[in-house]
């Protein structure tokens, strides 16, 4: 099947079998090998990409399901060739990685967290990355990296996207007073760019 995917801001045309996962299409057809296959059954999170800014497991999607979304892979995070985003730099500062295999997924998940929450608590960070398994670091320096990035982003002179539809919960929060202005489900559920 021929389809067009929007990846890191560019339209990319591929022709794949329906059974080809988004993960394999990114790696094999688009040669974006920064997204990694760790388990191929949706547990380890090494395959994480962003779909319209939200982390998803690319091994749990077929490429034919991925049209119409803005897909972000790790290759789309650095601000320019040779540069690092604040978050990527923070991972280097705290040594929030060792072998690097889980790292792209970990960074994209953390990136999405910081886009929505500019002051995450340690619990928020732990919860956010709990779907990304790391076997090297024991997570300590990863959490430090996200905390450091959050602090630096708060002090930076840069606006960040704000998302209207924030999940309204901290640990154990009740649901009595959600923020107003939530986009209701039927409006926010279609991928950007419309489509079927």
């Amino acid at each position: 099947m021929k389809l067009s995917l929007e990846v890191n801001g560019s339209a990319r045309d591929i022709d794949v079998e329906p059974r080809k996962t988004l993960l394999d299409a990114l790696r094999d057809d688009l040669l974006l090998v920064g997204t990694h296959a760790g388990c191929e059954h949706g547990v380890c999170g090494a395959c994480t990409v962003l779909l319209d800014g939200e982390p998803v497991r690319s091994c749990l999607m077929f490429a034919v399901q991925a049209d119409g979304y803005a897909i972000t892979t790790i290759e789309g995070v650095a601000t320019a060739p040779g540069e690092l985003s604040v978050l990527q730099d923070a991972f280097c500062e705290t040594h929030g990685l060792q072998c690097g295999f889980c790292t792209p997924g970990m960074i994209l998940t953390s990136h999405a967290l910081l886009e929505r929450n500019d002051s995450p608590s340690r619990e928020d960070i732990v919860e956010a990355i709990s779907g990304n398994i790391c076997r090297c670091t024991g997570y300590g320096q990863i959490v430090e990296a996200v905390e450091l990035a959050a602090e630096r982003l708060r002090k930076a002179n840069m606006p960040r996207k704000r998302h209207a539809n924030e999940p309204n919960r901290g640990a154990g929060a009740t649901h009595d007073s959600p923020r107003s202005g939530f986009l209701e489900a039927s409006e926010s559920d279609t991928p950007h760019g419309g489509g079927s």
């Binding site: 974006l32 060792q98 690097g100 076997r135």
Partner: protein, 765 residues
């Protein structure tokens, strides 16, 4: 022995970034699955359905017709074209090939390999292969496997016993006779492994015009090119392993020699590059990367003061269907068989048996973590007799921890404190091999480094193995920068392929800080000496008259030659060089492991040269009905001598504790009574996530080693060696008021709750 450095180090021990991180955070690591070769084929494997069966017939006809299929490989073909993979022990009748030959020996074992244009097509074709089996009797349990009547996994070997060797150090029987107290117990270390997130993968490419086999592998293995060459019956210099591959985690287990031989054979037959990347099922069932599965029966003799005088330990390991290196994981712990305790005599019986389970591979610590679990359990049981621990730890911080535990208990929560004190032998010689196998006379265990200063004065260093996140490039740049007094960030570190490499024994045995650091140091010293000789000759004095600083030399206040001048002389002005000196600025150094120059005698040998030390203190609490332990506080005291890069050591320690937590509470490869593996995916084999691993407080000490160039020791196994013992100890302390204890890892929440409920029932509540 090296002279003490007069000035504090500039780069060693300072807070420098790990340079490798930069490529990984942007997704520019080069992992084996990123290697794409023109015309590359993909392999999928057919697993055995039986734990033990004769292979009667393999019908590949339907598979061969499937789209994209290029070859369907059986064990018969492979065993004719290759030699069996190496064993470590003297067990020639235990033969292992990458595919089952004549007989399958564990459920999941690879029987047939299909090479096709895509991985999906290979899997489609695997489903069409028809194998008929005659099921045979099988054995899964290690104690049954010891019994001579158990069905031998390798009939030609005669039994399931691969190793049964007893060592006696000191007067064990006398000490037992004269000790007033004795204890006996059993603990069981369940089968688990380090399970990296990247499975093992390899790309092999045979070029028939060059007679060259190129290999890219996610490998952590000494003698990898040698073993490939041997198995394929190739001259060793026909094998070229590309070592600039980033390995996505290994922690010992990525010794994919069977995968490599299989892919290489296919490449040689088809004259096309062949890629074999294990999927997760293939990896868990049959990657042959399981870890120790060990029963410890321990007797201790101690006195009324709680001093343990003597210990008898029987360690029985269920190795699985093939031998490889795993029985040696019973030998290495001999180097720390009493841990840090002054136990005066030991009897140690090491037994390894085959069974119809997947084979093991070297797991982080090489058997030390299970052994520490047994030793620490012994000490905990002695301490339960006495108030020894309270006396030893008469310390305000510990008392506060005890108070916190006690107040939790008063509120109805189960709470316990666990303690583990462990040595971390580091430096990785292989002296346990000759200890367990007298025919093995190996004492050489090398590491090497080459440094080149080019004509423009830029420094490039080569290292000769792959890395799996240990930061070896940063390590070496720091060391060379320290010695040459130049900025490590300007030093380039590259990894040539194996044919262009100097000898290396790769990162095993927590050795690289010592050995690679040492080789880099000595090479840099040689280069510095050469620079000084060039300078002295140019300035008309003796090298001893010169001061070296920041890459340049000077004599007194008025005569000086900076780096650029020295480099220029070396590369361009041969007429200005001292008599007999080679032009250019290139040195190599090949280093032997310190203290490693003798074969064993009377069951004794110098094991690893250095011993790092760790002390774990854990507070655990849980609800007695739910049984889910929460680690409220985790403190580790850690001493690995001089720390070359603090980030790297911290990461190793935290990661090791996470591994240990998994082994203690979550992870196990479970087989059912029919020999099927029940934990073949991440849905059932549970890896700790960020929720399960607590915040850890690390308290550093530094006792420099006298044997190493900066006083550094290894830290590759830190945390993992003691965490299972400490966590188990804490759980046992928590349930001790119920009069129960746990003696098998992992300790699942269901087991905790069930044991507490049963004890309440027994008390008639």
């Amino acid at each position: 022995m090296t002279a003490p450095k007069p000035l504090p180090p500039r780069f060693v021990s300072s807070n420098r970034r790990v340079r490798e991180d930069r490529r990984f955070v942007v997704g520019h690591g080069k992992f084996v699955a990123d290697v794409v070769r023109e015309g590359m084929l993909h392999v999928a494997l057919l697993p055995s359905q039986h734990p033990s069966a004769r292979i009667l017939e393999i019908d590949t006809s339907e598979a061969l017709k499937m789209p994209g299929v290029r070859h369907v490989l059986t064990g018969d073909e492979l065993s004719k074209a290759t030699d069996p993979l190496m064993n470590g022990l003297e067990t020639p009748n235990v033969r292992r090939y990458p595919l089952a030959v004549g007989q399958v020996r564990y459920a999941g074992e690879w029987v047939v390999a299909v090479a096709a244009d895509t991985r999906a097509q290979a899997e489609d074709a695997v489903e069409k292969v028809r194998v008929s089996y005659e099921p045979l009797p099988f054995v899964l349990d290690a104690e049954k496997a010891l019994d001579p009547s158990s069905p031998p996994v390798h009939p030609a070997h005669g039994s399931n016993v691969l190793l049964d060797k007893t060592f006696v150090w000191g007067d064990v029987e006398k000490h037992f006779a004269e000790s007033p107290r004795h204890l006996s117990f059993r603990v069981v270390w369940g089968r688990n492994s380090t399970v990296p997130i990247e499975t093992f993968g390899v790309v092999a490419e045979w070029d028939p015009w060059r007679d060259m086999l190129d290999v890219w592998g996610s490998i952590q293995m000494p003698k990898y090119p040698d073993q490939i060459a041997r198995a394929l019956r190739l001259p060793a210099n026909n094998v070229r392993v590309h070592q600039d591959i980033d390995v996505g985690g290994s922690y010992g287990v990525k010794r994919g020699i069977k995968q490599t031989v299989l892919a290489s054979h296919l490449s040689r037959v088809l004259s096309r590059p062949v890629r074999l990347i294990e999927d997760r099922l293939e990896n868990m069932r049959a990657g042959d990367a399981h870890g120790p599965e060990r029963i410890f029966d321990v007797d201790i003799a101690f006195d009324d003061e709680g001093i343990v005088k003597s210990m008898k330990m029987r360690a029985l390991d269920n190795v699985g269907a093939y031998a490889g290196r795993s029985p040696f994981q019973l030998g290495k712990p001999i180097g720390a068989i009493v841990g840090p305790y002054k136990i005066q005599s030991v009897q140690y019986r090491a037994q390894a048996v085959t069974s119809n389970k997947a084979a093991q591979e070297a797991v982080r610590g090489f058997g030390q973590a299970p052994t520490n679990y047994a030793i620490e359990t012994a000490i905990d049981k002695v301490a339960a007799y006495h108030t020894v621990v309270a006396k030893v730890l008469d310390h305000a911080g510990y008392k506060a921890l005890v108070e916190r535990r006690d107040s939790l208990r008063a509120s109805g929560t189960m709470a316990g404190i666990g303690v583990a004190a462990c040595l971390e032998p580091s430096g990785g010689n292989s002296s346990f091999e000759p200890l367990l196998n007298e025919k093995n006379k190996t004492t050489t265990w090398m590491e090497s480094c080459r440094i080149m200063i080019d004509a423009l004065g830029f420094v490039t260093v080569t290292i000769h193995a792959t890395s799996a996140g240990q930061g070896h490039e940063s390590l070496v740049a720091t060391v060379v920068g320290e010695v040459l007094e130049i900025d490590p960030d300007l030093i380039r570190v590259v990894r040539p392929d194996s044919l262009a490499s100097l000898p290396s024994n790769t990162p095993v045995g927590s050795r690289m800080a010592i050995m690679l650091g040492g080789a880099a140091y000595h090479a840099a010293q040689k280069l510095k000496t050469k620079l000084m000789h060039i300078g002295a000759h140019q300035l008309g004095c003796e090298p001893d008259d010169l001061a070296y600083a920041d890459g340049g030399v000077s004599e007194g206040d008025d005569k000086a030659l900076p780096w650029a001048d020295l480099v220029n002389i070396a590369h361009r002005n041969f007429h200005l060089l001292p008599e007999g000196m080679e032009p250019g600025l290139e040195v190599t150094h090949v280093m032997q492991v310190p203290t490693g120059d003798k074969l064993p005698k009377d069951g004794r040998v110098q094991m690893y040269p250095c011993h790092s030390f760790e002390f774990h203190l854990v507070l655990i609490a849980f609800d007695p009905v739910i049984g889910k332990p929460e680690i409220l506080r985790y403190v580790i005291g850690h001493d690995c001598g001089t720390v070359i890069n603090p980030h790297i050591v911290k990461g190793m320690t935290l990661g090791g504790i996470a591994h240990g937590l998994g082994a203690a509470l979550l992870e196990e490869f479970v087989y059912d009574a029919e020999g099927n593996i029940m934990t073949q995916s991440f849905m059932d084999y549970l890896l700790p996530s960020s929720h399960e691993v607590p915040e850890v407080e690390i308290v550093h000490h530094c006792t420099p080693s006298p044997y190493t160039v900066f006083g550094q020791k290894g830290s590759g196994e830190s945390g993992y060696l003691g965490a299972p013992a400490a966590i188990s100890g804490a759980l046992n302390d928590a349930v001790s008021p119920c009069g129960i204890s746990f003696s098998k890892l992992p300790i699942r929440i269901s087991a905790i709750s069930d044991a507490i409920a049963a004890s309440a029932l027994n008390k008639g509540k």
